[in-house]
């Protein structure tokens, strides 16, 4: 790299314009000023390069130097990612805290992967093996839950000439490959430019169910491994709680959580809670499978723009090992706003509401990096990457550009509703407007693996809720008493579905996660009640008696039945039948 050096000519907030950067490329990283602030070239015009700077630019002025690095914004990929917390450009926040204090100072730098940690490399490939990009050379036990696969980096095709078990830091050479262009040493770490998707052999339609333990999601609006979902909602409607719940309970092997322009205290919450919480399958702390990216709202806006790319590149890297990975981005609106801010400073012609004209295509290309794939490499590993993006529309108005651009690409829509939130119905996901295009796939899976009545029950529950919404309008006009008795039974069933099934308390130890089996049984009990009461009404049992069965209290408490006692549901169904049968007619 030539020591190409330019000079600042203009500073406006996070945007710096420099001249004299010969041969600089788009998205190349540069260091700005004597303080060597991180920046990235985002526009080249004549001899001037526009640079978005990831740190506060106070004190930068014309005449100060700009240094080229010759590399695009890249992340370090290797053992040590899990359990880390990074900022938007992959600086380790825990290390910065230890080295630079409680506040993030400018120009602070620390390697993304710790160079002190020793890892045990266990070879999988042998000397003489012909390997190509993506092939697994060996493994490292990164955390209790994650076996990190060391893969052949890009462009290193050839024969393994040297490989052996070794213990060392990530820079340790673990293998040597004889390529057409000479021998190449492979370490445990590789770098990848974040704006470039990591390649895959081919993409597959996402078919495998993702369970989240959240009843309204799994039962009504399910997501698949490799699918995409968006969670829009006004403030106070519980977006972040939904995202946290997914990060906690989704059955993905790896979770990458990107806090993009959100609250600092929320990230602290995650940091304090995840080491305590246990993964429902393995019993190990959730932190053992989690990578956190935290670029809170008060951290520099350009780094916020980069944070989702940093997150997704790390997620893709784990996908390439053949894992199921889930990425949560909270919130993509803040990301879009960061784009808007940079676009405004570049004096680009704005599109809708001041957002840049390329907003929709950027959002689409971000979500398109999700998917169920066959990974590169010769062994046909399958990996999945699911994206769940929160959207924070201004004023809760879903017609704004970010929500609309997102809805065009995602397959699952979990619409949060502040009216439900005010009524303290959580998760406040509106069952009338939300949808999932993976429903059929998941239904057939659950029919087979959970219960043959899964799809039927789900459809019936949805039907009851739809009908309730229609009847509600009527009730508001004429009062509940004016409804026919059969409709009042339906209203009761709908109320039970809402309160005893959909309502789920994220802060209750037992209610916070529900297995598919229990979800099915909970709903089945409510439908059983509905099925039993209808004929009873026909036989002349007074409506009032049916609406006030003692057993209903048990139904309301059914969410607290332990996962190990699911037989209790059958007893509960019996109790419902018995009590109804015993009523005088």
């Amino acid at each position: 790299m030539s020591n190409a050096q330019g000079e600042v000519v203009k500073v406006s907030g996070p945007l710096v314009v420099a001249k004299g950067l010969a041969n600089a490329c788009m998205y190349e990283m540069v260091r700005v000023g004597e303080a060597r602030l991180f920046g990235e070239i985002i526009e080249i015009r004549g001899g001037d390069c526009s640079i978005q700077v990831y740190e506060e630019t106070e004190g930068i002025g014309p005449g100060q130097p700009v240094f080229r690095t010759g590399e695009a914004l890249s992340v370090e990929l290797g053992p040590g990612l899990i359990r880390s917390i990074y900022d938007g450009v992959q600086r380790p926040l825990d290390k910065l805290n230890a080295e630079f204090g409680d506040f993030i100072v400018r120009g602070a730098e620390s390697p993304a992967l710790d160079r002190k940690t020793q890892w045990d490399f266990v070879p999988v490939a042998k000397v003489g093996d012909a390997v190509a990009e993506g092939d697994v050379l060996g493994t490292v036990q990164e955390s209790k839950l994650v076996v990190h696969k060391i893969m052949v980096p890009k462009g290193a095709k050839g024969k393994v000439s040297k490989i052996a078990p070794v213990t060392g830091n990530v820079d340790t050479v673990v293998a040597v490959i004889d390529t057409a262009n000479g021998s190449r040493e492979v370490t445990m770490v590789q770098r990848w430019p974040v704006r470039q998707p990591r390649p895959v052999a081919r993409k597959l339609p996402p078919k495998e169910t993702m369970t989240t333990g959240q009843r309204v999601l799994d039962m009504l609006f399910p997501l698949t491994m490799g699918g995409t979902a968006c969670v829009p909602g006004p403030f106070g409607s519980g977006k972040t709680v939904v995202q946290h719940q997914l990060a906690k309970w989704a059955n993905a092997r790896i979770v990458v959580y990107v806090g993009c322009g959100e609250r600092g205290n929320e990230m602290t919450d995650v940091l304090m809670e995840f080491p305590e919480l246990k993964d429902p399958e393995s019993g190990e702390p959730l932190m053992e499978r989690t990578v956190l990216i935290a670029n809170t709202s008060n951290m520099p806006v350009a780094a916020r723009e980069a944070s989702v790319f940093t997150g997704i590149t790390i997620a893709e890297y784990f996908r390439d090992m053949g894992y199921s990975v889930a990425l949560m981005a909270d919130s993509t609106s803040r990301w879009a706003e960061a784009m808007r801010e940079m676009s405004g400073r570049l004096e680009e012609m704005p599109g809708e509401e001041g957002y840049p004209a390329y907003l929709a295509s950027r959002i689409a290309s971000f979500y398109e990096r999700a998917g169920s794939v066959v990974c590169t490499g010769s062994e046909e590993r399958k990996g999945t990457l699911s994206i769940i993006g929160a959207v924070s529309p201004p004023g809760g108005d879903f017609s704004e550009p970010v929500v609309q651009a997102t809805l065009r690409v995602v397959k699952v829509f979990w619409g949060l509703d502040d009216k439900l939130a005010f009524a303290r119905h959580f998760p406040a996901i509106n069952w009338l407007t939300s949808y999932s295009l993976y429903q059929e796939v998941v239904d057939s899976h659950c029919n087979e693996h959970v219960d043959a009545k899964w799809q039927e029950n789900r459809r019936r529950a949805m039907g009851i809720l739809q009908r309730e919404a229609e009847l509600d309008e009527l009730v508001r006009l004429v009062g509940m008493d004016a409804l026919p008795q059969t409709d009042r039974l339906l209203m009761q069933a709908a109320k039970m579905i809402r309160e005893d099934f959909l309502h789920q308390n994220a802060f209750d130890d037992r209610d916070t996660y529900t297995s598919l089996k229990k979800q099915f049984k909970m709903l089945d009990v409510i439908l059983h009640y509905y099925d039993k009461t209808q004929p009873a009404l026909g036989e002349g049992v007074p409506l009032n008696k049916l609406l006030t069965l003692n057993v209903l209290e048990e139904v309301a408490r059914a969410k607290l039945i332990a996962e190990s006692d699911l037989d209790q549901f059958d007893a509960l169904k019996d109790n419902i039948s018995k009590e109804i049968d015993a009523l005088p007619r």
Binding site: V9, K10, V11, S12, G13, V17, T57, E58, G59, I60, G61, P62, G63, Q64, I85, L93, D94, L96, N97, D102, F103, I104, V105, R106, P234, F235, G236, G261, R263, G264, N265, T268, L271, M272, A294, T296, S297, N298, P300, V301, R334, E337, A338, R340, E341, G344, P350, E353, G354, S392, P394, G395, D397, D418, A423, R424, R476, L477, G479, A556
Partner: protein, 459 residues
């Protein structure tokens, strides 16, 4: 560094001065603008492009002409000299004493923009603050390190309520150092003297630092006021180990000043003419609340904003709500009924309440009582609406009970005196007393053991 003074101002647009032919100027630099009559105004570099600098003048540009000013670049950002002696003092919007007291001898100079707190260094806010106001303590609990704004509107008593919180707020532990930092942005003389008098009357002034920018003070100065206040607060909290309550009022005026500058710079506007970076800008204020691991002090923020047209979806309350950890919303109908404090309970929210309440913090039944009061009040309000359409006769017996409950709730729970400082036990007692109006079987959100223990026994 050589002093760089230029008499080359070319244009003056709104609050901005464009200076030509400058050299070595940096972004964010502080400037002195000297008038020929000897007076000096302060400014800050907003943009520098080759040899042109755009300077934002805090005291406004009236009386300036390109010919009569010299712009001096000071080679540093805006700094505030901080000291423990600031307690008990009143400052203007630029940090200069205006209470006839002596100048402050700074212990330290701090850049008012601060640095973002490392999320890793944060400690989670979970210490209950008792404000003595039932609707906050029991239903929308405030915790140390939280930012909880008041969403008010013109004509509502948000100032009285903020003053009451400042007066009464305490943690259930004793012996800790406590301070109030108050930042007034564009409020009227009447409002500000209300606060000063209230602080003086109750003796709170001794442990308060006040920054005053009144309605007739330069609007652009409002940009720096909250940052001065928070810089002082950070110094007191993290270097002097004090628990600082920061009251910022009124953020709406701050945002309007920001809009003015943005318009003068001809930036592409976002919603309603506010700049696209309003969210980011507000977050650099609000996110300075918090606690740091291993440090004694904390910063709790109570920003006050008036919602234009009582509209919660207006960009200012909207973006604020996305950053802060909840909101206390004031209700005009309650105020019209003569209920103080007129807290609109249902849409108000404290996001951090769950970790600040319960056994060992407040009382074990707190969460249950809170949920039950909410749902009962919501049901009562619904029933009341229904009664308006259909007449009371259409209500079932139990719904009538809820209507009564809702009225009693507003009258006895929400309403309280301006000097009435209720302990959390007292608030809980009123809550239980009200729940006693409902049959036990209706209390589905309260665990049986608590019903057993606290449900009012009837003769």
């Amino acid at each position: 560094m050589v002093t760089r003074e230029y008499r080359t101002a070319k244009e003056i647009i709104g609050p901005l001065v464009l200076v030509d032919g400058v050299e070595g100027v940096t972004f964010g630099e502080l400037t002195d603008i000297k008038l020929d009559d000897g007076s000096v105004r302060r400014g800050r570099v907003l943009e520098v492009n080759r040899d042109k600098a755009v300077v934002q003048v805090f005291e406004g540009t009236s009386g300036l002409s390109p010919e009569n000013i010299a712009v001096k670049f000071l080679g540093k950002g805006i700094e505030l000299g901080v000291s423990s002696d600031m307690l008990g003092r009143v400052f203007d919007g630029f940090g200069r004493p205006i209470d006839d007291g002596p100048e402050i001898i700074p212990e330290k100079w701090l850049n008012i923009n601060g640095n973002p707190m490392n999320p890793y260094a944060r400690d989670y806010p979970n210490e209950f603050i008792q404000t003595g106001i039932s609707t906050i303590d029991l239903l929308n609990t405030l915790v140390r390190g939280q930012k909880l704004p008041f969403f008010s509107a013109s004509g509502l008593p948000h100032s009285r309520m903020a003053a009451q919180v400042a007066r009464q707020a305490k943690v259930l532990k004793t012996g800790e150092k406590f301070a109030v930092v108050f930042a007034a942005m564009g409020i009227t003389f009447e409002e500000s003297s209300f606060f000063i008098e209230d602080f003086r009357r109750t003796g709170a002034l001794e442990r308060a630092v006040l920054f005053m920018n009144l309605a007739d003070d330069p609007a652009i100065e409002r940009i720096s006021v909250p940052r001065l206040a928070l810089t002082t607060a950070e110094f007191l909290a993290y270097e002097k180990g004090m628990h600082v309550l920061v009251i910022l009022t009124d953020l709406t005026n701050y945002c309007e000043a920001l809009r003015e500058i943005s318009a003068a710079r001809k930036e592409v506007p976002g919603r309603r003419g506010y700049p696209g970076y309003l969210y980011t800008d507000l977050s650099t204020i609000y996110e300075r609340a918090g606690r740091i691991k291993g440090k004694g002090g904390s910063i709790t923020q109570l920003p006050v904003l008036t919602m234009p047209e009582d509209d919660k979806t207006h960009p200012i309350p909207d973006l604020t709500g996305y950053i802060t950890e909840g909101q206390i919303i004031m209700s005009r109908p309650l105020h019209a009924q003569g209920i103080y404090p007129p807290v609109d309970v249902l849409p108000s929210l404290s996001r951090l309440k769950d970790k600040g309440i319960g056994e060992g913090k407040t009382r074990a039944d707190h969460a249950n009582v809170m949920n039950q009061l909410y749902s009962a009040y919501a049901r009562g309000k619904n029933a009341k609406e229904l009664a308006v359409v259909l007449g009371e006769s259409a209500l079932s017996e139990i719904d009538l009970l809820y209507v009564k409950f809702a009225d009693a709730f507003e009258d006895r729970f929400i309403r309280q005196g301006e000097d009435e400082n209720r302990t959390i036990e007292e608030s809980l007692a009123i809550g239980w007393d009200l729940l006693g109006m409902l049959p036990k079987s209706e209390l589905k959100r309260v665990r049986d053991e608590f019903i057993e223990k606290y449900y009012p026994k009837k003769d």
